[in-house]
């Protein structure tokens, strides 16, 4: 049976905020768990600090959904103690679709005057 990737992508939307943050954190390369936490914290100027429970609960589900994958041992290089994760091709598509969805939502909000247009 052929896979309908488009439908699979849309079945996952909207993404939970934690998922999106993790996808964004992995957007520029692989990271380990604490690396993801750090990235999220830096990008949001410390406003969002993920807890280990939220992080690994999300990672477990994202692995099951095929959004991310774990790097096999050795491929991670420097820190062998830690498990590294990276985006899958599918995860990248889902992240793009979610970003698209959010930006169209934002455009609609601007259109109705809810959000001030950028001058």
């Amino acid at each position: 049976m052929p896979r309908d990737i488009g439908a699979e992508v849309h079945a996952l939307l909207p993404l939970p905020p934690a998922f999106l943050h993790i996808l964004i954190a992995l957007g520029d390369g692989e990271r380990h768990g604490y690396g993801i936490m750090q990235n999220v914290s830096e990008r949001t100027a410390g406003r969002i600090r993920m807890s280990p429970g939220t992080l690994y609960g999300s990672i477990k589900r994202m692995l099951a959904d095929g959004l991310i994958e774990e790097l096999t041992a050795g491929a991670a290089g420097a820190d062998e103690r830690r498990r590294f994760y990276r985006l899958t091709r599918f995860g990248r598509r889902v992240a793009a679709a979610e970003a698209e969805r959010l930006s169209s939502l934002l455009a609609q909000a601007r259109g109705s005057g809810l959000v001030p247009r950028k001058s």
């Binding site: 750090q38 280990p52 429970g53």
Partner: protein, 861 residues
């Protein structure tokens, strides 16, 4: 050594499911360590925030992870159950029957026994009766002057009194007779009754010679007055007098059979203190206790005995709570017995399912062993078994509740209406809660053994053995379960046997009269139209003559209370001259009867003569029952002797008749005396007609005869005596039927248990059987091998069952009649039945064993 904070975090991590920890615990600890280091640099606020997050994780995220694992397990269990449909269906159906039957019986128990009375949730309402220990009178009506004295003197009780009666309503089509109550105004507030329309009685309505007013029930208002909204204030003829309807009360708000209420107007000066006619109810006032109220009323009774020695000497009071009064001990006990027996059925059902699951686990040993070998955690395997049982229980529970929901209205219809409040039974929230608890217990009971057996999986052994291993533990457990099922089934069968025996004896008890083809009906003459006993006796004589001459009627008679009517009349009497009473009193039942009464009921006249029907000749004469004669004078000739009946005076005995059970099948006939209805009548009497052949014509015959003589009179409570007898045996019949049914289901389930175990045994021992047959064992020997195993299981089960039954059946004693709880015949019969069922169940596997082909069996090795 790990830091304190890390150790603390490890503890928090314990909230997560094992699988999750196995996978991520190390990573989470690493992330925690890094984060903690970073937050330390950021200050105390950051650390506090971190811990707060971690605690929230443990409380919110961890249960989510558990749910996730559960979801996976359930999905897996559903898939594997779908693959084993026969097993799943059998298990679910067995559980559904067990849970359904329990839910249904519990809904009855809840409605009848467990709910507090709506008007008395705290148990402060009491029924108060008169007692007289020297007369051996317990729970007797109260005289109205006594009631008034109690009410005036008591500081702990609010009291109300009523008289039961009947009222004829006229002016709304045919005259109708309805049960009525003359009651003091206090009854309604005492029971928390509010008027649905209009108002209730006030003390002003109790004034002697006050305006005639009445209340009616909502049911009567709808049935007789078409729900007329202008009913309040309208006038209706009750008896002969027009009464103003002042209000409508909700149906069933007064726990008495009454549709019309009139005020009870007590003229103490004209009442007789020795005439016990009234029913009294009280509510313990706030601040007082039940014991205080009892003590106070007892002391008032002692004062009254001193003040009025003639009427009150030896009379005291006794209390029962309204709950004990309305829901008798026998009913309560019977329902608990039913619940206990239905619980036994559920236990057997659990054992069956456990046995099925053990067999299934044993058959899946290889699968389990492989999964353990490739790294599945043992707890995961155990949880698999538990989840499977959870899923089975959930399906079985839902199906069971549906079964109960469907069956409760059906059961309700064939329950005796002597069971109070049974019509209010339904599968409601408390019942559902019970079922939920039941399912939880059920699931734990039947899942424990299979789960334990799964957790002890000996991988190496199991892989070696293959799927068909000779499996010690599981098979032994299954045999124990089968024996336990047999034991429980034996207990139930013995119990059912005892109850059926009791019912049988009860129904064959010597009544002292012939109830076949007897129809009785009540009729009320109003004193306004029939002035004096002569006028009413003339009416009754005409009626009886007319009935006796009617086609199809063998005999007709009159009495104030036919056998197995509601209510009884009795009084203390004494003997004139020397007697066995030695000057003491004897409590005797009495009846007013017409001359044809004994012939109509076929009560034998043993000595002397019957009544003549002529008032002058019947004056001061009396006929007594054999027991009464014997209790007073032994075997001496009693004709011509005299009895003194208190204020009623002395009577001369002219005849002796056979003993009659008038009230209760289970009680011996009471001493009874009869006086002539030519002399004494009540305003309400019962007409008795014995038909030739079937009594179907009798009601219309009776109606026609009454209408032809006086169209203003209403006939009511038309019933056959067989009907009344049926009613009086309804509770024992219900007990016997339901316990019998449960015992049958139990025996069937136990048979299934034996069958399953033996069939499994045969499949396990195929090779052994094959070798035996190859070595020359004949079919009888093989059948014997399997049958003997089945019988051994049965024997151990029956042995345990008999011991348990002997312990339990004492508990049934109060529900039994003329049967000993250790009746050897009943126990023998139950055992024979169990053995028979077990042999039948063992035979099929035994036969299958003989079909084992030795060659095939050996080759499969």
């Amino acid at each position: 050594m790990p830091l304190l904070s890390e150790r603390l975090y490890r503890v928090l991590l314990r909230c997560y499911p094992g699988e999750f920890r196995d996978e991520y615990e190390r990573e989470m600890l690493l992330a925690f360590r890094d984060r903690l280091a970073a937050d330390r640099r950021a200050g105390r606020g950051a650390i506090a925030r971190l811990w707060w997050q971690l605690v929230v994780d443990a409380i919110v995220r961890a249960p989510g992870e558990h749910l996730d694992v559960l979801r996976q397990d359930v999905r897996y269990a559903l898939r594997s159950l779908l693959r084993a449909r026969v097993f799943a269906f059998t298990a679910i159906a067995t559980l559904a029957i067990g849970v359904g039957a329990n839910t249904a019986i519990f809904s009855l128990l809840h409605a009848v026994v467990l709910r507090p009375l709506p008007f008395d949730p705290e148990g402060r309402v009491v029924r108060i009766w008169a007692i007289n220990s020297t007369l051996d009178v317990d729970g007797f009506s109260v005289s109205l002057p006594d009631y008034v004295s109690w009410k005036e003197r008591s500081k702990t009780l609010d009291l109300a009194a009523w008289l039961n009666g009947g009222a004829t309503l006229r002016g709304t089509g045919d005259p109708v007779r309805v049960p009525s109550l003359s009651t003091t105004a206090g009854l309604f507030p005492l029971l928390g009754v509010h008027a649905a329309r209009g108002r209730l009685f006030t003390p002003a309505d109790e004034t002697v010679n006050g305006r005639p007013v009445a209340l009616i029930t909502e049911g009567l208002w709808r049935a007789q007055f078409g729900g007329n909204p202008q009913i309040v204030g309208s006038t209706v003829t009750i008896g002969e007098r027009p009464h103003e309807i002042i209000g409508v009360v909700p149906e069933g708000s007064v726990p008495q059979d009454a549709e019309v209420f009139v005020p009870l107007r007590i003229d103490v000066a004209r009442e007789d203190r020795s005439d016990h006619t009234a029913q009294v109810i009280g509510r313990v006032r706030p601040g007082a206790t039940l014991d205080q109220a009892r003590g106070e009323l007892e002391s008032i009774a002692r004062q009254l005995a001193l003040e009025f020695p003639d009427s009150n000497r030896n009379w005291g009071v006794t209390f029962s709570t309204a709950y004990e009064w309305m829901i008798p001990e026998g009913t309560r006990r019977a329902l608990y017995v039913l619940l206990a027996s239905v619980c036994c059925v559920l236990l057997i059902a659990c054992a069956n399912v456990a046995s099925l699951m053990l067999a299934r686990t044993a058959a899946r040993r290889r699968e389990i062993a492989v999964r353990v070998a490739i790294g599945a955690a043992r707890r995961r395997i155990v949880r698999q078994v538990l989840t499977e049982s959870l899923v089975l229980t959930a399906f079985g529970g839902v199906a069971g509740v549906l079964l109960a929901w469907w069956s409760v209205p059906v059961i309700r219809q064939w329950l005796p209406d002597t069971l109070p409040r049974v019509n209010e039974s339904s599968v409601n929230a408390p019942v559902l809660l019970f079922s939920l608890g039941l399912c939880a217990v059920t699931g734990v009971i039947f899942a424990t053994l299979p789960a334990l057996s799964g957790s002890r999986a000996d991988v190496v052994e199991w892989l070696k053995e293959g799927a068909r291993g000779s499996s010690g533990a599981a098979a032994r457990w299954r045999q124990t379960l089968a024996a336990a099922q047999i034991a429980i089934a034996t207990v139930l069968l013995v119990g059912a046997g005892l109850l059926i025996q009791s019912l049988h004896r009860l129904q064959r008890v010597e009544l002292g009269f012939n109830p076949a083809n007897i129809t009785t009906a009540m009729i009320g003459l109003t004193p306004e139209r029939y002035k004096g006993p002569e006028a009413s006796w003339a009416f009754y004589q005409r009626l009886l003559e007319r009935l006796a001459a009617a086609p199809g009627v063998q005999a007709a008679a009159l009495t104030n209370g036919a056998p197995f009517d509601e209510g009884n009349t009795g009084m203390p009497i004494g003997a004139v001259g020397p007697s066995r009473l030695n000057g003491k009193s004897l409590q005797a039942d009495w009846r007013m009867v017409s001359p044809g009464y004994f012939k109509a009921l076929q009560i034998p006249l043993l000595r002397g003569q019957g009544f003549t029907g002529t008032p002058a000749r019947d004056e001061r004469t009396m006929i007594v029952s054999a027991t009464m004669a014997k209790r007073i004078w032994g075997d001496e000739n009693v004709l011509g002797r005299e009895i003194t009946a208190g204020p009623a005076g002395n009577f001369t005995i002219v005849g002796v008749v056979g003993d009659v059970r008038n009230e209760d099948l289970a009680l011996p006939p009471a001493p009874t005396m009869y006086i002539s209805s030519a002399q004494y009548q009540w305003s309400t009497m019962t007409v008795i007609v014995r038909s030739i052949g079937a009594e179907t014509q009798a009601p219309s015959l009776l109606r026609t005869a009454v209408r032809e003589i006086d169209p203003q009179l209403a006939l009511y409570n038309v019933r056959t005596t067989i009907d009344r007898l049926d009613r009086s045996a309804a509770q024992p019949r219900l007990n016997a039927t339901l316990v019998g049914l449960f015992a049958a289901v139990a025996a069937l389930l136990a048979a299934l248990g034996i069958y399953g175990v033996l069939a499994y045994l045969v499949s396990l021992r195929q090779q052994e059987i094959g070798i035996r047959m190859a070595l020359g064992a004949g079919r009888p020997a093989v059948v014997g091998l399997i049958l003997s195993r089945g019988l051994w299981l049965t024997a151990s089960g029956v042995g345990a069952g008999i011991v348990a039954a002997l312990g339990v059946s004492r508990w049934l004693r109060s529900l039994m009649f003329e049967v000993s709880p250790t009746d050897p015949r009943t126990i023998g019969l139950a055992v024979a039945l169990v053995v028979l069922v077990a042999v039948v169940a063992s035979y099929a596997p035994a036969r299958r064993a003989t079909r084992v082909d030795p060659l095939l069996a050996l080759r499969s090795q």
